[in-house]
Amino acid sequence: MMLQTDIAVIGAGPAGANAALAAARQGFSVMLLDEQPLPGGQVWRAKSTAILDAPATPEGDAGDRLRQSVKRSSVTYAGDARVWQIEPVEGAWQLHMLKGGRTAPLRARALVIATGAREFVQPVPGWTTPGVLGLAGATALFKQELALPGKRIIVSGTGPLVFYVAAEIRRLGGEVAAVVTPNSQGDWLRVLPAMLPRPDLLMRGARWIADLMASGVPIHWRHAVTRVEGGSRVRGVGFRKLAPDWSPIGTSQGLEGDSLCLGNGLIPAVEAAQLAGVALAYHPELGGWVPRHDEDGATDVPGVFICGDSAGIRGAAAAEIHGRLAGLCAAQHLGADTRKERKQLRPIHARAARFGTTMTALSIPRAGLAQLTTEETVICRCESLTRSAIAAEIAGGARSSNAVKSGLRAGMGACGGKFCQTTVARMIAAADGRAEADVPPPTPRPPLRPVPVSVLAGDFEYSDLPIPKPAPL
C-alpha cells in the first residue's frame, strides 16, 4: 500500500523538523524523514541507545527539545529512512525510501527538502589514511556515541568547528595534540562585532579557546596540515605556515598524534533538490552551489521547498527559522494563508542568517589552500585518482565536471562525487580561466544513497515482471 501525506520533509535537522512542525500546525498531514534513528540532524544528533547516562550539553538539550516537539506534534516521523529517489508522479511527488531492509514509496503533494550539508576537505597527501576523519564527522562520533577517534588527536581546519571539536575531545577525556587553523587571530577579531548579537556563542567560543591556552594545547593560527604520516593508521602530521591567501609558506613542522580531524567548511547537500529538478546557482558565500530559492525557501519547481543548510550554509539558528518559513510556504502552496506569519519570521531569519554567514565566511577556504593538494595527492577517494591524473584529463580537453567524470571516473565511485567534485570543478575553472560559477557539478543521478539490488527487487515472481513487448526485429 502506498503511503500518502500532504507534505513530506526530507531531513529532520533544525530546518526540516521545524518545517514539519510549522506545516503540521497549519493542519496538514506531514511525514518527516531522516536517515538517523531520531530527529536532530548533524548539529543536534541524538545519542545512541548505548549511552545510558551522560552530562547535558547545549547541543543535546536543543536536540532533546526538538525531539520532544516532534513527538508531541501530529508529525509522523520515519527514522532510519533513506530517500533514494524523488520523482514527479501525477502532479504529486513520489519518494522512494529504504527502511528496514525494504524500499517503500511515499506520495506527497508538497516536498520540503532539508538535507543539510556535508563537509569540504581540501585534499592533502595522506588524507585517506585510516584515522583521518572529517571535522563534522568527528562531531557525529561525539554527539551520537560520546566517543573519540583516537587518544591524541590533531584538530585542523577552518572556522569555529575546530574549537568546538577540540573542546569536545577534551570534554570526553581525550588529548588534543594541537589545533591547526588557517584562520588568524585577526580573522576572528574582525568578526567579533558580528558575533555580539549572540553573546552565548561568543562566550562559549572564548571559553573553548581559553581552555586550550590554559591547558597548554598549542593553537597554530594561520597554519594548515600539509601531510598526514602513517600508512595504515595516522602517526602524525606535517603542518606549515600560510600566506594571507592561505598558500603554504615556510618550513614544515611535525606533530605526533593517532588521529586527525580535518575540515574546511560545509557544502550544501543539494543532490535531493537536483533530483527534484531544482536548478542550482553559485553562491560562494553560502558554501558553493545552492538550489535556487526565494527567501522563504520556495524553489522554481512548484511544490518543492528548501530550507536550512541545504539552501546555503547559514547555521543551525537560521535553519530553525528557515525551516518554519519553508514549512509555512509549503502550507501556503496547499491552500493555507501563512503570509502574515512568514512576514514576521523573515527579519528574525535574516538576523540569524547574518550571524551564520559570518561563521561560514570564516570557514570558506581561500584560494591558496588548493595548493595543499600536491600532484600525487588522491582527490577522488573512491577511485584513487590523483591530482595529476585529473589535471591530465582536463589538459586533454575535458572541460566540464561531466566530462572529467566520464573520462576518468572521478565521481563515478561509491560516494557519487560528494568528496571530490568541488576540488575537480575548481581545477577545471582554474585550468580553463573560467569562473567557478561556470563549472557546475555533474548531472545528478539516483539513487541518492547506494541501494542493494536485492532490496530494490524485493520478493517477486518472474511472471510479476512487467516485461514490455520486444524491440522491433
Partner: protein, 366 residues
C-alpha cells in the same frame, strides 16, 4: 576574414565525430559543434553493449562492420570481446529466441543455440531457470563513458576544430553555404551535417525541415564493484536486459527500460517504476547480483523514426545539407555508419547503402 569550413557538423557524438574524421581524411576541413560535451549524449550514456544478438536483421551487415571498428579502437574505448548469451526463461520466450536468433544468424551473425549444460559450465553464476539460450562469440562491450575522451583525442590528433558547450541557435543559408549562429560567433560552412541525435528534430527545424524524430528514454544502472559474477555479456530473449561485469568489477545493467522526459526538456529521468523491474530481471538472471549495491541509474535519449531505420543521407529539400542519426544499435554501428556518411559527403560510393531520409515513414515497424 572568417574561415569557411567545408562542412559544419552539429552534434559531437560518435556519428558526427566519425563522419568529421572521415571527411577530414578525404581532404575536407570540418568543424564539429556540440551543445554540451563531446560524446555525452546517447553516445556516452548507453550501456556499451556490442551484441549482434540484439541488432535488427536488416542492420546486421552494418553491425558486423561496427564490431570491427570497436575492436580496432580497442583499449582506448574499453573494448572487450567476451562473447554473449541471450536467455529465455519461459517456453514463450524460448520460441521468440529461436525465431529471432535464427533470422539474425541467417543475416550473418555467428549465433548458435547452446544447451543448459554448456551455459552452466560457461556461466555458473547464472540462474538454473534458463529454458533456452543462444550464444554469439562476437559479442562484447565497450565503455561508453570513454566516447567523449576518445573522440576528443582523435579530433585533436587530426587538428579538427571542435567546440563544446556551443549550441547552434540559428542557421542561415544561401548559395555560398551555411552560416550558423553560435556562442562563439557565426560559423560559416559550405556543407552541413546534422548529427544531433535525439535533438535532430529541433536542429532540422532551424532549416525549416520537419524530421519525424522521436526519442526513447533508455535506463542504465551500475553497481559497485563485486567479485567475479559473470564473464560474458548477458541478454534476454525480448532484448529487455543487457548485463555485463566490467574489468573493475562493477556490473552494468540496461535493456531499454523507459524513463521519463524529453530531449526538449533537457534531461531524462529515471523512474522507479521501470528501473526496479529492470534490476529485478537482472537479479533473476544472475542471483549473485542481489548483494550488489546500485550506485547510479541514468537515462539516455535514443532517437528513432517511425520505421526504426536510420536517417543517413541528404537532408530533404536543403542542398548540401545532410542528416545522420536514428540508428537502432547506434553505439555499435555509429563509428561505421559515420564513416559511410563521410564517404557519401565526399561523393564516394559508400561500402554499404545509406538510408534515405526522404523515404516514406508510414510503415510502422512490427
Amino acid at each position: 576574414m572568417t574561415r569557411i569550413y567545408d562542412i559544419a557538423v552539429i552534434g559531437g557524438g560518435i556519428m558526427g565525430c566519425a563522419c568529421a574524421l572521415r571527411v577530414a581524411e578525404g581532404g575536407m576541413l570540418p568543424i564539429v559543434l556540440d551543445q554540451g560535451d563531446l560524446g555525452q549524449g546517447a553516445s556516452g550514456v548507453n550501456a556499451g553493449t556490442l551484441s549482434l544478438q540484439i541488432k535488427r536483421v536488416r542492420l546486421m551487415p552494418y553491425a558486423l562492420k561496427g564490431h570491427h571498428e570497436w575492436a580496432r579502437m580497442g583499449n582506448a574505448v574499453g573494448f572487450h570481446k567476451t562473447g554473449g548469451y541471450t536467455l529465455a526463461f519461459t517456453e514463450h520466450e524460448a520460441e521468440l529466441l529461436y525465431e529471432r536468433q535464427r533470422l539474425k544468424a541467417e543475416a550473418g551473425a555467428p549465433i548458435s543455440f547452446v544447451s543448459a549444460q554448456t551455459l552452466r559450465k560457461a556461466e555458473p553464476g547464472l540462474t538454473q531457470k534458463v529454458v533456452a539460450a543462444s550464444y554469439c562469440p562476437e559479442d562484447g562491450y565497450a565503455n561508453s563513458s570513454l566516447t567523449g575522451q576518445y573522440y576528443r583525442r582523435r579530433l585533436q590528433d587530426q587538428s579538427i576544430s571542435y567546440h563544446e558547450r556551443c549550441p547552434v541557435t540559428a542557421v542561415d543559408h544561401d548559395s555560398n553555404g551555411f552560416t550558423l549562429a553560435t556562442p562563439i560567433g557565426p560559423v560559416r560552412a559550405r556543407r552541413l551535417l546534422l548529427a544531433a541525435g535525439a535533438w535532430l528534430r529541433p536542429v532540422a527545424a532551424l532549416l525549416g525541415v520537419d524530421l519525424p524524430v522521436r526519442a526513447r528514454v533508455n535506463t542504465v544502472s551500475v553497481t559497485g564493484r563485486m567479485p567475479p559474477l559473470v564473464s560474458t555479456v548477458i541478454g534476454h530473449a525480448t532484448g529487455l536486459l543487457t548485463m555485463k561485469q566490467k574489468a573493475n568489477g562493477t556490473v552494468l545493467v540496461g535493456g531499454g527500460w523507459q524513463g521519463r522526459g524529453t530531449p526538449q526538456a533537457g534531461r531524462g529521468q529515471v523512474t522507479a517504476e521501470t528501473v526496479v523491474p529492470n534490476l529485478a530481471l537482472a537479479q533473476y538472471a544472475l542471483p549473485g547480483l542481489g548483494n550488489a549495491r546500485v550506485l547510479r541509474s541514468w537515462t539516455g535519449f535514443e532517437a528513432n523514426v517511425p520505421d526504426f531505420y536510420p536517417l543517413a543521407g541528404a537532408l530533404p529539400g536543403v542542398e548540401n545539407a545532410f542528416v545522420l542519426g536514428c540508428v537502432r544499435g547506434g553505439y555499435t554501428i555509429g563509428p561505421y555508419i559515420g564513416r559511410l556518411m563521410g564517404d557519401f559527403i565526399l561523393s564516394r560510393e559508400p561500402e554499404l547503402p545509406l538510408f534515405d531520409p526522404a523515404r516514406n515513414f508510414d510503415e510502422e515497424a512490427t
